[in-house]
């Protein structure tokens, strides 16, 4: 039996009065002020983003990751080398000086590894404000967002095993904060067209990508909050890095859309319930 005002841990959706129109409530609190696909966060949501990020950094450091500082800007040549324009030509926001806003955080890591031979497998973590030409107004699909990534580089079996460990770890974490989540094989939507279709089928058949999706309303609407990706030797060949023993280096990454995690928590627990997570830790 759940008392009035008390969260039902087993099924938070059933006892959450803010679920009637939680987006409107977040907006009225000034915590999620959206203008199309741009959003400004209030102090509560900003603190929640930082709280979530600290959790992921903690997991990463415990897994032996090294922190890699990166810029929100990226050279166009790096994205060309990464094949970004081949897959997603309209997605990059270019600056007047010829540079680009980074569309994903992990490209910086491959660029830094270029030309190197790794004596052992490595794990890095980095965070960046990213920007993409998103064209939908779906809540949570933002043009500017913050992405924390964990990058894995090593032999194929090692990377695949670590990806599985990260999926298990993050699924357990999501459930521990009462998110209602599913972890499913996925494909990148920009692989739907033309030659990229073959890449989509390979991504699908080899289960190279999984997405963690959180249910954010009682109708079952889902928000993808994290992805878990295997790139095989794609980036090591593109950027010319490998393993010191002569084998190809595979890579993989785990991506966290931090505003999406915060939104999923605020919609699931209600803003007050979500902000309480931060207060409890700091109190």
């Amino acid at each position: 039996m759940t008392r009035a005002g008390e969260m039902n841990v087993a099924d938070p959706m059933m006892h959450n009065p803010t679920m009637d129109n939680p987006m409107a409530r977040l907006s009225s609190l000034g915590e999620w002020v959206a203008d199309g696909s741009e959003v400004v966060l209030g102090p509560g949501m900003s603190a929640l983003v930082n709280w979530i990020d600290a959790k992921f950094v903690g997991f990463a450091l415990k897994a032996g990751a090294r922190e890699l500082p990166v810029s929100p800007l990226i050279e166009r040549s790096v994205l060309e080398r990464a094949g970004y324009f081949e897959s997603f030509p309209a997605g990059v926001v270019e600056e007047s000086d010829g540079g680009c806003m980074t569309p994903a955080t992990c490209y910086h890591c491959y660029a830094k590894l270029a030309g190197s031979l790794l004596p052992e497998p490595g794990v890095w973590t980095c965070i960046a404000h990213c920007r993409r030409n998103e064209r939908t107004a779906e809540p949570g699909r933002l043009r500017t967002f913050t992405m924390r990534e964990i990058v894995l580089v090593g032999p194929a079996a090692w990377v695949r095993e670590r990806k599985q460990q990260w999926m298990d770890r993050i699924l357990a974490f999501a459930k521990s904060v009462q998110l209602i989540v599913e972890l499913e094989p996925a494909t990148d939507p920009f692989f739907d067209r033309g030659e990229a279709r073959g890449r989509k089928l390979l991504q699908q058949i080899k289960e190279l990508k999984h997405e963690l999706r959180a249910q954010v309303d009682a109708k079952g609407t889902q928000l993808a909050v994290s992805s878990f990706n295997l790139h095989e030797a794609f980036f090591s060949r593109r950027f010319g890095f490998g393993l010191a023993d002569g084998r190809d280096a595979d890579s993989g990454c785990v991506a966290f859309g931090l505003e999406r995690w915060a939104l999923a928590l605020a919609l699931t627990l209600g803003p007050d319930g979500a902000f309480r997570l931060v207060e409890q830790e700091h109190g």
Binding site: P185, G198, L201, Q204, I205, K206, E207, E232
Partner: protein, 79 residues
Amino acid sequence: MSDVREKLLGFINGELLTDPTRRAGVDTPLFEDGWIDSLKILKLIAYVELMIGRNIPEDEIVMKNFRTVATITQHFVSK
């Protein structure tokens, strides 16, 4: 069914393996240990389509159906 398995195994072992000194069996996970590279996977899909005489819809081109020779024949041939 066993004829189809043998034919499919023959194709995989004869044409698709990254390392020709290895031999796949009916329960060998085809994608998990680099047995078949990406280009050859597309050939495998095309071969299965020829074998069953129909195009395979995209939503059936998933790991659980193509994991091994056994799962391929189970899903696409025994229907």
